[in-house]
Subunit: 398 residues, 2 copies
C-alpha cells in the first residue's frame, strides 16, 4: 500500500505557501495552500513555516569524532604533521567504538536537518581498515534515513606511508564510494605520482575523486591545474572535488578567472568550510564563473579541534561572516553551498523540492532563506523519505 500524505501550509524556500503532497517517500505535488484534498492524511501542519530541502554536509570526518565523549583538552602540536601523529596516538587505542561516537554525531546532524553526507574515512597503516569497516557498517545502519558517501582518505599520506595504497584499494573494493587524496606535494612529496594513482583507481573502480588540498598559494594552485589536467585526461568531468583549496585565497580573484573557467568546464567542485584563520577560495567569484562550490563541517569535536557542531545552517552563517556578506542574495548563496551546491558536488540524482524528489525536508520558523541562515532556529522538523525523524533538535528515529 502506498500512503499519500500532505504537509499543509509551508513556504518552499520562502515563496508563497503550499500544501506539499507526499507519496511513497517522495514529493508528489506542490499545490496552492488549502487546495490539497481535505481527506488526505496530514503529516504536518506547517503553519506557514519555511520549507527547505534537507541540508547537505559535503565534508565531514565522522570516523574520528569524539562526539558524546567527555571533554578532552586538545593535545596536538602546532603543525599539520603534529596533528596527524597526535590523532594516531589518541585514536589507535581509543576505548569507545567508532559506531558509538560517529552514530551519536550522525543522529545529531540528522536532528539539525542534514540528510546527505560525504564523510572521509581514514585509511592509515596505523589502524588499517578499522575505520572503513566501522563506517561501512554505520552507512548501512542509517541507510533508511540518509544518503552517506564515504571517501577513502589517506590522512597520513599515500606514498609516504608504505602499505597505504594496498589498504586504499581494499577499501574501494569493500564499497567505499570515493577515492580520496591529501596534499600531493606537501605530505606525499610526489604530486604527479600521487594524482596518477588516484585517477587510475577512479577509472578502474568507477569512482569519483575528492582531494584534501591544504598546500599553499602557488604550490596548491599548480596542483589544482594538474588535477584539472587529470580530470580531463581520465574523462572524470563532474566527479572530482577539491576540498579546502586554501591556495585559491592567496590570489586576487581576477588572477584566477582562467582557472575558474577551467574548473567550471570540467565540473570540478570546490569545497570550503570557510575557516576564518586561513585564506579561503573566493566563493563569489568562483560561483559567478559557474564553478560549483559546497561546504562542510570538516572535523567535529575531534583530535584536531573541539570546535564544530554539524549544523549546516550555522556553517552557512559562518560562510557569510567569512566574506562579510550581508545581502539577501549573498546569504542565499551561502545557503546554496549547504544545499543545492552540495547536492551537485555529491552527484545526487534528485535533490530539491520538485515533484519526484525524495521527501527529505527541513521545516523551520523563518521568514525567508536569508533569515534562516542568520537565525539558525533550533525549532526544526526534519523529514526523511516522508517520515518525521527529528523535532526541535531531538532525533526520533532510533
Amino acid at each position: 500500500m502506498t500512503t499519500t500524505q500532505v504537509i499543509r501550509n509551508v513556504r518552499p524556500l520562502g515563496a508563497a505557501a503550499v500544501d506539499l503532497v507526499l507519496e511513497a517517500g517522495k514529493i508528489k505535488a506542490l499545490l496552492p495552500v488549502g487546495s490539497a484534498a481535505p481527506e488526505l492524511p496530514c503529516l504536518l501542519d506547517g503553519q506557514g513555516q519555511l520549507l527547505l530541502p534537507a541540508l547537505v554536509e559535503s565534508h565531514v570526518h565522522f570516523d574520528k569524532t569524539l562526539w558524546s565523549m567527555p571533554w578532552r583538552p586538545n593535545s596536538a602540536g602546532p603543525t599539520r604533521n603534529d596533528r596527524i601523529s597526535n590523532e594516531q596516538v589518541l585514536l589507535k587505542n581509543f576505548d569507545v567504538p567508532i559506531a558509538q561516537r560517529a552514530g551519536a554525531l550522525t543522529e545529531h546532524c540528522i536532528a539539525l536537518g542534514s540528510l546527505y553526507f560525504r564523510s572521509h574515512v581514514d585509511v592509515q597503516t596505523v589502524w588499517g581498515l578499522r575505520h572503513v569497516e566501522a563506517m561501512l557498517a554505520l552507512r548501512d545502519q542509517y541507510k533508511h534515513l540518509i544518503d552517506m558517501q564515504l571517501v577513502a582518505f589517506p590522512q597520513g599520506g599515500l606514498l609516504i606511508q608504505p602499505g597505504t595504497t594496498a589498504l586504499m584499494q581494499t577499501a574501494l573494493e569493500m564499497g567505499v564510494d570515493i577515492v580520496g587524496g591529501i596534499d600531493p606535494a606537501a605530505i606525499d612529496r610526489d604530486p604527479v605520482r600521487h594524482l596518477e594513482i588516484l585517477f587510475d583507481w577512479a577509472v578502474r573502480y568507477d569512482r569519483g575523486v575528492d582531494i584534501h588540498l591544504h598546500d599553499p598559494a602557488d604550490l596548491g594552485r599548480w596542483e589544482i591545474e594538474r588535477i584539472a589536467d587529470m580530470t580531463q585526461a581520465h574523462g572524470l568531468q563532474g566527479r572530482v572535488m577539491i576540498s579546502h583549496a586554501y591556495c585559491l585565497g592567496a590570489f586576487a580573484p581576477v588572477e584566477l578567472h582562467a582557472l575558474a573557467d577551467r574548473l567550471a568546464e570540467l565540473q570540478i567542485s570546490i569545497m570550503t568550510c570557510a575557516p576564518s584563520h586561513v585564506t579561503v577560495p573566493p566563493v563569489a567569484m568562483l560561483r559567478s564563473r559557474h564553478v560549483n562550490v559546497c561546504s562542510g563541517s570538516d572535523g567535529i569535536r575531534d583530535a584536531w579541534s573541539p570546535m564544530g557542531n554539524g549544523d549546516m545552517l550555522e556553517r552557512a552563517m559562518l560562510i557569510a561572516l567569512r566574506f562579510g556578506w550581508s545581502k539577501d542574495s549573498d546569504l542565499e548563496m551561502a545557503f546554496d553551498m549547504v544545499s543545492t551546491g552540495g547536492a551537485r558536488a555529491l552527484g545526487l540524482p534528485a535533490y530539491g523540492l520538485a515533484p519526484g524528489c525524495p521527501a527529505n525536508l527541513l521545516i523551520l520558523p523563518a521568514e525567508n532563506l536569508a533569515a534562516a541562515v542568520v537565525d539558525r532556529s533550533p525549532r526544526r522538523t526534519v523529514i526523511s523519505r516522508g517520515h518525521i525523524v527529528a523535532r526541535d533538535g531531538v532525533f526520533l528515529a532510533r
Copy 2:
C-alpha cells in the same frame, strides 16, 4: 530585611562544586558543596552545572538595531560612507521607536547571560539627540537589572558634520558616560584636532574615551600612537578603549611589541569583535604583553548587516575560530574577553565570583569553560543581583 539565599552545587569556572551564598544581591561566600546551612532558602539547585560571572558586552549599538522587526534586506552600498548614509535614511523616519527595538534586544541579551553593556549611541545632526534621549531612558528602565554604559558616538563624523560637537557636548551633559570618536583620519580628515577635542571633553566632563578605529594599517597604527600620546598627556590611563583597531592585524605581531607595551602601560583596552573578513588585532600577542582585550557584538540586525544575535558565548566561539584556537587555554582566553577583560575595559568596580561581587551570574550545563564556549548551551539560568531573571533563553523579569 536582608534575605540570605544559597545556590547549591555549582562549579565556579569549572572548579570543584560549591554552595554559593548570596546576601543583599551580592556574593557572600563560596562554601564546599553541601556545607551551606540546610535552613538557608535555596534560590537554585545547580546540579553541578557551571557557574560563570554574567557576561560583558563591551561594544554594541543598541540604538540602531532592527531587532524584533520584520526581516529587512540589507540595502547599503559597499563603502563605509554608503553604509552611514543608508542608515541615516532608514532610521531617520523609522516608525518603530528605539525603546521597542533596543528594549527587545536588551532583554534578549540578558536572557543569553550578559548583564554588563557598553552601547554606543549615535549623535548625528540628522537626528540630533533622539538616540541619546531614548538610550538614557532605556538605561534607566533596566538599571535594576543591568549595568549599561553609553558612549556618545559621532557615527557621521565629528568635525566633518557641523553641529555635531555641540550635540556631543549636550549628550555628555545629559549623562552619557563615555566620549566616543570615529576614524579621526579617514572620516574626519583631521586626526589631531579630532583627538584633541575628544580628550579635552574627557578631562572637562571626567569621562572615559572609546574610539572606533577602522583606519587601515600604517594610518591606523599612527593614530593609535597619537591616542597613546594623548592618553598619557591627559592622565587618562585606564579610561581609554580603542574599538576594532583592524590596523593592528596588518603587521606581524613582533612588529607591534613596543606599541603593545605602551598600550599596556597606559591601560588602553583594545576591543575586537574578531570579524573574519578583515584583519584583526593579534589578541594572543597583545594579551601576552598585558594589553587588556575585550569583545562585543557590534551591530546586531541593523542597517549595516542582519548578522549578530548578542550571544557573548557565541562571540567567544567566533573569536576562537578567527584565530584557529583549539586549546583549552585559548578558549579560556576567548572567554576572558567576554567576561573579565570586558569588566576591566569598562572599569567595573567589582566583577567576578569573589565574595562582595554582585550576584550577577550565568549558570549553564557545561563541563568546563572551554566546553561552555564551544557548546554555547541555550539552557542558561541568568541571575541579576540575586534574582533569577532568565531561563532557557526566556527573559522573566518583565
